[in-house]
């Protein structure tokens, strides 16, 4: 019974066998998403759908309503398209459906307070969109009563024991989306093509992908060609005596690189943020000119009151400090985590204007705000 549950796992132990996304124009970047068009259906493969999922692939068959199933494929492995009701467990899923103009498909979301988009927030307020909770608080009965065609989840770890796995046993189709594990902003963006297929807006998705892809690369190229030097960039914030440092191969590390910055931990690579002592980050931060994403601090005063030593950083006097909280709701929603997934070009432009203001005179940031 469990085996016939929504997903098909196949272990590919052959080392180096790596799925390559079939892309339209604009190239392929998403390492974990493969879309293959066949006659009468589309095969979607998610490779390594959660952290430490080496060798695991999940294959789905997207079949139009009313068409027959491909040979040897069960209904449980199939999603009928276009879907009519979808539950989004991540705000990035909401952003992609919004960008496609398909937010009317959203029947449920996870964590109402974390949503930024005003149309979706209005939908939650008037009861059209329900909050199903998350993790251990996931309201399974509510999920089932919403009768979704699909629950778009994301796996933090092997979900076979989690609440979402219980749901697939009851027949709810749980799709493990791995967009957040893609380490390049354009790779994350490419997942919009999955939503395009699901929502029946394939062309719109392809067009958004290729235009944003091109805009991003145009700007990155301009930075490569004309930026003078690479200002040092400090990232994150201390908490008590710990500073979790993101590796340079992370999403934000790639953005800093493309924006012409020198991430002070550019030599550190790995899958996760690593705890460092504040002392060691403080010493390394002497080479930084710009500080981005200093936690939830809204003013320079807040940074100093949580750790007075930060005021003696050279960049505190001569540099600039920016948080990613220009677009937030009082409840806790932040558009940086939401719409930026479909607008990496805007995110990059923000960072270029912060790191190389000389390249973008008069630019007003979209996601970032300077701390005063």
């Amino acid at each position: 019974m469990i085996i016939t549950a929504a997903v098909l796992f196949c272990s590919c132990r052959n080392a180096g066998e790596r799925c390559v996304a079939q892309s339209g124009e604009g190239g392929t970047v998403a390492g974990r998403l493969t879309i293959e068009k066949e006659k009468g259906y589309t095969r979607v493969t998610v490779t390594e759908p959660w952290q430490n999922a080496q060798g695991i692939r999940i294959v789905w068959y997207l079949v139009p309503h009313g068409s027959g199933l491909p040979a040897g494929v069960s209904e449980a492995q199939t999603i009928r398209i276009p879907v009519r009701r979808i539950i989004c467990m991540s705000v990035t899923h909401i952003a992609m459906l919004r960008a496609l103009g398909a937010d009317s498909l959203i029947a449920g979301i996870s964590g109402a307070s974390l949503v930024y988009d005003s149309a979706v927030v209005a939908g939650i307020r008037n009861g059209r969109i329900r909050d199903v909770g998350y993790d251990a608080t996931l309201n399974k009965e509510l999920v089932i009563s919403l009768a979704p065609d699909l629950l778009m989840a994301y796996g933090v770890a092997d979900p076979s024991s989690g609440s979402a796995a219980r749901l697939s046993e009851t027949g709810v189709k749980v799709f493990y989306n791995a967009d957040y594990l893609e380490d390049h902003p354009l790779a994350r963006l490419e997942w919009i093509r999955l939503f395009g297929l699901l929502a029946g807006r394939e062309e719109a998705a392809d067009s958004i992908f290729s235009s944003v892809y091109a805009a991003y690369n145009r700007l990155a190229e301009r930075v490569r060609d004309s930026a003078a030097g690479r200002p040092g960039v400090l990232l994150g914030a201390p908490w008590e005596d710990v500073w979790y440092v993101s590796p340079s191969n992370s999403y934000i590390g790639k953005l800093i690189q493309d924006a012409g910055g020198h991430y002070i931990y550019s030599d550190m690579e790995g899958p996760n943020a690593v705890p460092f002592s504040v002392e060691s980050v403080f010493r390394k931060a002497a080479e930084a000119d710009v500080w981005i994403n200093p936690g939830t601090a809204e003013t320079l005063g807040e940074i100093v009151s949580s750790d007075p030593r930060m005021a003696s950083l050279p960049l505190f006097r001569d540099g600039s400090i920016w948080n990613n909280r220009r677009r937030v709701t009082a409840e806790g929603g932040n558009d940086y985590w939401e719409s930026a997934v479909v607008r990496p070009d805007l995110l990059l432009a923000d960072l270029v204007s912060i790191i190389h203001p000389e390249l973008m005179p008069g630019y007003v940031q979209f996601y970032y705000r300077k701390l005063e």
Partner: protein, 344 residues
């Protein structure tokens, strides 16, 4: 008797010397490398400003905090063990640490903190500390109220442990409903931290510790008689109710303040009094009390030095170090038939 007294004095002096040595070592061994000569220059204000900030703003406050917290937490544990005549009692049995944890959880795990301190105000950066103090203080009041009504001290112990469990359940519930980022900040708080305490905060911690220790010192004689039993204490004229209240207040002020500034420092309070009894071979609180304070300072300084062992700019939480030192000691007490446990 006099040769024993000399031995005690020598041991105490030795401990004090060890504390000074470890204090210096803690200044020289940080999570980043700095040459000894540079540390010296920074200490005497003649180094480059960068080095001076590292030594004076990072390492010195850390080492001072280790001394204060180690001494205060250990003495609090000693008072509890004697008062309850229970070798496994510690500062947390009365729920004071849990109370502080509840205050912190109310601040870190909710969107409307217990104390909102505006940045730039005189209390900026004190939000978590005030919340922890309030939580610890509230539990202390409850325990003292119970203690004033109950004749049997064991009832107070049971009430304290029940209270601690109830508070933990409330905190668990809050963790359950909080998001990952909030959860991480709270979890890091529970791991103990000596390194983000400013000088004004150290002054406050020093004042509170001094008050708690002074109270404890006035109770040295009653503490010695309590070891012989409460009934005996009454017959020799110890006013038990009053003594209990003062001891509970002293232990709560010490443990509550340390927990407010450094998080719940596990095991220091339980293990250090036993280590001290072993070292000094005495149950006389005139010696035990100062000796426990010194041993606590030494062990927390040592733990702090160990916490930078991973190298490369990483540190491990101080609580993991103190637990790894403390657990073998507690195990040894439980398992050892001839251990100091029989002295109770």
């Amino acid at each position: 008797m006099s040769s024993g007294g000399t031995r005690m004095t020598m041991s105490m002096a030795g401990l004090f010397l060890l504390m000074i040595i470890l204090f210096m070592a803690d200044m020289f061994i940080g999570s980043t490398h700095m040459a000894a000569a540079d540390v010296f220059r920074a200490l005497f204000g003649s180094g480059p400003p960068g080095d001076e900030i590292i030594v004076m703003q990072f390492r010195l406050p850390r080492a001072l905090t280790a001394i204060l917290a180690g001494a205060a937490m250990s003495v609090s544990g000693l008072l509890m063990q004697t008062l309850f005549r229970n070798p496994l009692a510690g500062p947390d049995v009365m729920g004071v640490s849990s109370g502080a944890g509840l205050g912190v959880a109310l601040t870190l795990l909710t969107l409307t903190p217990l104390f909102t301190v505006p940045a730039g105000s005189i209390l900026a950066g004190w939000g978590v500390i005030l919340a922890a103090w309030a939580g610890a203080g509230a539990v202390m009041m409850i325990i003292m109220a119970v203690s004033a009504r109950m004749r049997d001290i064991m009832t107070v112990l049971i009430v304290g442990m029940l209270l601690a469990s109830a508070i933990s359940a409330v905190v668990s519930l809050m963790q359950y409903f909080s998001n990952e980022a909030m959860l991480r900040t709270y979890v890091i708080w529970t791991m103990g931290n000596l390194g983000n305490i400013s000088y004004p905060q150290i002054r406050a911690l020093a004042l509170a510790s001094a008050a708690g220790l002074a109270l404890a010192l006035t109770m040295v004689k009653p503490l010695n008689t309590i070891l012989l039993g409460e009934t005996f204490s009454r017959t020799v004229g110890v006013r038990m109710q009053r003594t209990r209240i003062i001891l509970l207040a002293s232990a709560s002020i010490l443990a509550g303040s340390v927990t407010a500034f450094c998080g719940p420092l596990a095991f220091i309070g339980v293990a250090v009094p036993h280590i001290t009894r072993l070292l000094f071979g005495t149950t006389d609180h005139r010696i035990l009390l100062p000796a426990t304070a010194l041993t606590g300072a030494v062990i927390l300084l040592f733990s702090d030095i160990i916490s930078v062992i991973p190298g490369g700019g990483h540190i491990i939480p101080v609580n993991t170090v103190t637990s790894l030192i403390g657990i073998p000691v507690v195990l040894w007490i439980i398992l050892g038939k001839t251990g100091p446990g029989r002295r109770f």
